[in-house]
């Protein structure tokens, strides 16, 4: 265990962890978009900037990429930090005017209006903030790689190859799950899952043999079974609820008999 000082108060931290992890654990308010505990640090949203006042590299830096060291001193509410944070939030409001999650985040940190709001919002839709969580979850966690960045600069967007229907996407919805801006639309309709945002990539859903509800795409089931080879085969065809009931019904009689 090492000690770090945040806003003049001492905290314990684990060697090698990132400052943002400490801030989150200790409940110290800081906005962030691109950080996610399941993903590698990316340092793109620039919102979690803090001022390092003591230690080897003083200055303003992102806490999600700042590895804590013993004696590190940081300030999360230094005037310069707050100023930058607010200007960045203004930019986010302009970049994703359609995202309520972003508006809420901005409001929470005292930004209601944006001076930069009069820009054309181009191909990438009006909710995405390009934090890249979806890209990382799809590549790093699932190993699917259905989406990635396309183009650059203001034309930057996250998309499928050639902006087409993806043959790689398995319809797992992890992208939408990690998205902090609510920018990814997925519609389940009948036996189909339509990944609206990914150029309407459409996947077949599997029907639970017991409840007749559609519970996962066929590709997700295949993907899971390709990764975890020792899963019982009979779980392929049942939803999570049915799975629980089925296992319980196998287990309970044995228990009750005793």
């Amino acid at each position: 265990m090492i000690t770090v000082t945040i806003n003049n108060k001492k905290y314990e931290a684990n060697e090698g962890e990132y400052a943002l992890q400490v801030l989150k654990r200790e409940g110290i308010e800081i906005p962030y978009l691109c950080y996610h505990e399941a993903l590698s640090p990316y340092g793109a949203c620039r919102l979690c900037m803090v001022e390092v006042t003591g230690g080897a590299r003083p200055g303003i830096t992102t806490s999600c990429t700042l590895v804590v060291t013993d004696g590190l001193e940081i300030q999360t509410e230094a005037p310069e930090v707050v100023r930058i944070r607010k200007v960045l939030l203004e930019m986010y409001l302009a970049e994703a005017p359609g995202s309520e999650a972003i508006q809420e985040l901005a409001r929470k940190f005292g930004v209601e209006r944006s001076r930069f709001a009069d820009f054309d919002i181009e191909a990438k839709g009006d909710r995405c903030v390009l934090c890249g969580r979806c890209v990382r979850v799809c590549n790093e966690v699932l190993g699917v790689g259905a989406i990635n960045y396309a183009s650059r600069g203001t034309k930057s967007n996250i998309n499928t190859p050639w902006y087409g229907v993806s043959s790689a996407c398995i319809g797992c919805t992890a992208c939408a799950y990690v998205c902090p801006a609510g920018a990814i639309d997925i519609i389940d309709s009948g036996d189909e899952r339509i990944m609206e945002t990914w150029n309407r990539t459409t996947l077949k859903l599997k029907e639970c043999v017991e409840t007749k509800e559609f519970f996962a795409t066929e590709k997700v089931i295949d993907h899971v079974y390709s990764k975890a080879l020792d899963l019982p085969e009979d779980l392929k065809e049942v939803s999570a609820g049915s799975r629980m009931r089925r296992r319980a019904s196998e287990f309970l009689p044995k228990y009750l008999r005793k």
Binding site: P41, G43, R46, I60, T62, V87, A94, F116, L130, T154
Partner: protein, 1052 residues
């Protein structure tokens, strides 16, 4: 053949020497990309063809770039035993003659640029030696472009064949590698590099040895080195040339580095836009492999290393090292946060050293000559040299290599030769779009990492873009920002959205939609982006904005407040460059076109709307419009002043001016305005204010109106009847003149207020001569220039004496000299600088010369000597040229030498000043040089309701600038008094053809005739005549009609 030991190297060297110094004449063409762009490839083919055709015993070879890109194509001719002679500006048509002469042992003399007898290349004790001879050709280092250069990295560039490894070995190449591998341990090499103090030449300036040491000390199974050749700054091409002209130097440097670091693989990351560099590198790598410099067991040591080329797609962000690594790995070129630094975890997660091309190129010479030798060049903190590509608005364009610590002044004025066509250099941008604009006032700054940072710029990789008065700082900032915005990878929002917003603001400002709050917003965004952006591209992208806001804020303000772009670039803000430059914003293309259509009356009216003294200005205006005329780029500017004079002269001669002189007059407003001084500023203000319906009274200390036009400029330049004619137009409008009323003595500001004047415009000019301040000024026969002119103009009889010396270099000095000539004197002008530095108009100087005035330059008066109370001579200190000052002129400095000129009169004309006693009495705040301080945009002085303009504000300046102040005042005060901008309502609609021919018409410029006189004594008749009708009409067709703008093109 593998080169394993020193004797192998000697063998290769022998081959190289034969190729470099052949036994027959050799002609080598500079075939860098710069040369090829100028046509060198065609020259090369033509020369080869000629040799074959003529059967000459001459070899034709290739070489790299000698650095002076502005003189390309360059061709080297080497006869055995003779110096290498460089020919410049060669075309295919010269090929035949070059070969013919060379075959006969001769040189095409009129194309000779310089000769090279000996070049110190540091690796050879005696340097590279050619023969000697050709005493009349300058040696290359006598050419100012080369004199102050210190070529280390570029030492062989343009002399050896970049495609021949033996020539590189002949000039000492690969001996450093041998020395390092055979004689030194890797640790020893590392120590040498650290001791030498080499810092990264990519721009950051990180100590190279330290970076290497980190990588060396990080344990890993594999280590990499990378050469960053992703050069992408606009206007920078140092690295390209280094690779094209001397690729082996880079390769040798990289092998030495790899040895010190313990790397097994090297990668040259070069952009696909550099095909020639790639081709030459590939060729060089193959040759190096064949000689065993790459591969296994290099030079019989256990060291294995090879180099590969990776071609980048040309994204600017890939110059950022983490993005570059991502690109090599096959990912999109997007940077990642550091740490970890590549030296710890880089390519494929292994320790990786990334250095710029020039950094690697410095290594062979450091190893050969030792670290102390290297550390001796440059400054304490920055060792060695730096290569810059000197481009933009500078005479000598090319690659220059200078020792660190040289001043910007030396680079720009001495090596670069100063501005183009005598234009004033305004700033220089170093470090490309990541750097900043350094203003000319800071050109004393030393070129090193820290000084450049202090002034707000960066060293960068070596781009140096010179900007002159024709560069708009808002526009250039917009350009750099559009570049970085375009090249932003889009990963982080400050760069992605912030730069876009900044660019949007700059576009608004240059289109005339700017507001003052925009400047604060720009600054705020710049500071946020600078801290918050993820990588160097974003962090430094606002630098051009920050530095231009720091040094050129007035230009931004002019764009926003006055909607004016003084450089004449932001074309939404003006009609045409001539109109934009004119202090009165005269519609030049309009009246030129009307003349072309032979609509004299309409042309005259259009002129009169913009300028109440057209015939006067047609004679004495300093016509800055012509300096901006785009026809000047073709074959000389349109004679705008002459055309205007022709139109007004025609109308006045026809004498049917009643109808013509009826400009628009608004109904009476009942507002009273006072103007002090009936000079050009006062008359112009009166003219417009009267037309706007105000009651105007002009108070004038002298008995006549006109100011300097009446009492300064002599009759032979401006006939007084012409002046009177135009003053009468103003009088006829109903302006009151109160002559012989000196403010302070005869009337005070309080009197005027009491009389109900709503505002007072002070335009009293600068009528007092500045004294020389040397002994003897009180002698009989010493005249003050302006007083002298005034006395002559007032008709005082004068006997100036036989021999007169006029001191000064301005228009007043020239006028005094020409008046004295007419009074029968032999006149000499004494000026402390050189002729080209004289502030007087070139045509005036020329006419003075024609009239027999003689000049002594580089002489400053020390004392006026007298005999019996009368002038007998003048003691002169001979001056010499010293350092350049911020105006780009060399400052005159006194020498020990003193001599005396005999004369019996001295006229001093070194400048004028305002009568400060009167101004002080009014209570207005004065600046240190005695001029009235006004707000630049409102012309308001420190006293309420009191405004000022003209020379009393600027110091002695020009007629048209003073008139511009008068016009501006009228516009400002009218809007203030009336609450609306009514000024444009004074204009009448005149339409004229907007058709424009594709090709320039009308041929060369038409020159007005001068009355040819041999004896000027007593003759005050006007010298310069009007253009003839034919000349004027022809001249009008020369106008390119810059006011005709292309229709908006549809975006594709």
């Amino acid at each position: 053949m593998k080169i394993r030991i020193f004797s192998d190297l000697e063998k290769a060297k022998g081959k190289g020497m034969k190729s470099l110094f052949p036994e027959r004449t050799k002609i080598a063409v500079g075939l860098g990309s710069c040369g090829i762009a100028a046509g060198a490839e065609r020259v090369y083919q033509a020369l080869k063809g000629e040799v074959e055709k003529q059967g000459a015993d001459i070899s034709v070879a290739k070489t790299g770039c000698l650095g002076f890109c502005g003189e390309e194509p360059l061709v080297n001719v080497t006869r055995p035993g003779a110096p290498l002679v460089v020919l410049h500006g060669i075309t295919e048509d010269d090929a035949r003659e070059i070969i013919e002469r060379a075959a006969g042992g001769n040189i095409l003399e009129d194309k000779v640029f310089c000769k090279v007898e000996r070049v110190d290349n540091f690796l050879e004790p005696k340097g590279i030696r050619f023969g000697t001879g050709y005493a009349n050709f300058p040696h290359y280092d006598e050419i100012p472009f080369y004199t102050k250069q210190h070529k280390v990295v570029l030492r062989e560039s343009g002399l050896i064949d970049p495609e021949n490894i033996d020539e590189y070995i002949a000039v000492g190449g690969y001996s450093a590698l041998m020395k390092a591998l055979v004689d030194s341990s890797p640790e020893r090499v590392l120590t040498i590099v650290k001791t030498a103090g080499l810092r990264g030449r990519g721009g950051g300036g990180f100590p190279t040895g330290v970076k290497w040491e980190i990588a060396r000390n990080t344990p890993a199974d594999k280590k990499y080195i990378i050469c960053n050749a992703d050069e992408g700054d606009p206007g920078a091409y140092m690295n390209r040339n280094e690779m094209e002209s001397d690729p082996h130097m880079l390769i040798e440097g990289m092998i030495i580095g790899a040895y010190a670091i313990g790397a097994c693989e090297g990668i040259i990351y070069v952009r696909t836009e550099y095909p020639l560099a790639i081709k030459r590198l590939e060729n060089a790598l193959e040759q190096a492999r064949a000689y065993g410099f790459l591969g296994d067991n290099i030079c019989n040591t256990q060291f294995n290393f090879d180099i590969y080329i990776v071609c980048g797609a040309g994204a600017f962000v890939c110059g950022e090292e983490t993005a570059l690594i991502a690109s090599i790995e096959g990912f999109p070129g997007r940077p990642r946060p550091r740490p970890p630094f590549p030296a710890v975890s880089g390519l494929y997660g292994k320790p990786t050293v990334i250095n710029n091309v020039e950094t690697w190129c410095n290594l062979p010479v450091i190893i050969s000559k030792g670290p102390e030798w290297f550390a001796d060049i440059g400054t304490e903190e920055c060792k060695g040299t730096k290569v810059f590509s000197l481009v933009g608005k500078v005479k000598n364009v090319g690659l220059v290599e200078v020792p660190m610590g040289i001043s910007l002044k030396e680079i720009i004025y001495e090596i670069g030769g100063g501005g183009l066509k005598g234009k004033e250099i305004k700033a220089v941008q170093t470090g490309g779009p990541s750097g900043g604009c350094i203003p000319a006032t800071l050109f004393d700054s030393r070129v090193d990492y820290d000084t450049l940072k202090q002034v707000g710029s960066i060293m960068g990789s070596g781009g140096m873009v010179v900007m002159d008065e024709d560069t708009c700082m808002v526009d250039i900032t917009k350009y750099f920002l559009s570049f970085t915005q375009e090249e932003s990878c889009g990963k982080c929002i400050p760069c992605r959205r912030g730069l876009e917003h900044m660019l949007g603001i700059l576009e608004d400002i240059s289109a005339g939609r700017g507001e003052m709050r925009h400047l604060e917003e720009l600054e705020e965004l710049a500071k946020v982006i600078n801290v918050a952006a993820l990588c160097g591209l974003g962090q430094t992208a606002p630098n051009p904005v920050l530095t231009t806001l720091r040094y050129f804020k007035d230009e931004y303000e002019e764009h926003i407040i006055q909607k004016r772009c003084r450089a004449g670039v932001c074309d939404a803000l003006f009609l045409a460059p001539c109109e934009n430059r004119c202090p009165l914003n005269m519609n030049v293309p309009g009246f030129v076109q009307l003349l072309k259509e032979e609509r004299f009356a309409d042309a005259y009216h259009l002129i009169l709307e913009d300028n109440p003294l057209p015939a006067v200005c047609g004679r004495v205006c300093h016509h800055p419009c012509e300096g901006k005329c785009r026809r000047g780029e073709v074959d000389g500017p349109v004679g705008i002043r002459d055309i205007r004079r022709f139109i007004t002269d025609c109308v006045y001669q026809a004498d049917d001016t009643r109808e013509l002189r009826s400009p628009v007059v608004f109904p009476e407003t009942g507002k009273k305005l006072a103007i002090i001084g009936a000079g050009p500023a006062g008359l112009t203000a009166a003219y417009y204010l009267r037309r706007l319906g105000h009651e105007v009274t002009v108070f004038e200390a002298y008995p006549k109106a006109g100011g300097m036009l009446q009492y300064g400029i002599p009759e032979f330049r401006l006939p007084k009847d012409i002046l009177q004619k135009e003053i009468n137009v103003i009088k006829d409008l109903g302006v009151h003149f109160e002559f012989n009323k000196r403010v302070g003595d005869d009337i005070t500001l309080e009197d005027m207020r009491a009389d109900g004047f709503a505002a007072v415009f002070v335009a009293t000019g600068t009528h007092q001569d500045i004294p020389l301040g040397v002994p003897g000024e009180d002698l009989d026969g010493v005249y003050a220039g302006m007083k002298f002119l005034r006395d002559v103009n007032m008709g005082k009889a004068f006997q100036v004496g036989k021999e007169v010396v006029v001191i000064g270099g301005g228009n007043v000095a020239i006028d005094c000299a020409r008046v004295a000539t007419r009074l029968g004197a032999m006149v000499t002008i004494l000026y402390r600088r050189e002729r080209k530095d004289m502030p007087a108009l070139e045509e005036e100087i020329h006419e003075a010369e024609l009239e027999g005035v003689s000049f002594i330059f580089l002489g400053a008066p020390r004392a006026i000597v007298g005999a019996k109370g009368k002038v007998a001579g003048i003691e002169v200190t001979r001056m010499k040229l010293g350092e350049f000052d911020s105006s780009g002129r060399r400052r005159p400095v006194p020498t020990e030498e003193i001599y005396t000129i005999q004369c019996n009169a001295v006229i001093t004309a070194i400048g004028g000043k305002a009568d400060t006693s009167v101004l002080e009495q009014m209570g207005v705040t004065l600046s240190r040089n005695g001029t009235v301080q006004v707000d630049k945009y409102t012309l308001q002085t420190s006293v309420p309701l009191c405004y000022a303009g003209g020379d009393v504000v600027t110091g002695p300046w020009t007629v048209s600038d003073a008139m511009g102040y008068g016009k501006n005042f009228a516009k400002i005060i009218d809007a203030q008094l009336m609450g609306v901008d009514r000024f444009d309502g004074l204009k009448r609609d005149v339409t004229y053809s907007m058709d424009v021919s594709i090709e320039p018409q009308g041929g060369k410029r038409n020159v007005a005739q001068c009355s040819s006189l041999t004896d000027y004594t007593g003759n005050f008749k006007e010298v310069v005549q009007s253009l003839s009708r034919e000349q004027a009409l022809r001249e009008a067709t020369r106008c390119l009609r810059c006011d005709v703008k292309p229709e908006e093109e549809e975006e594709i």
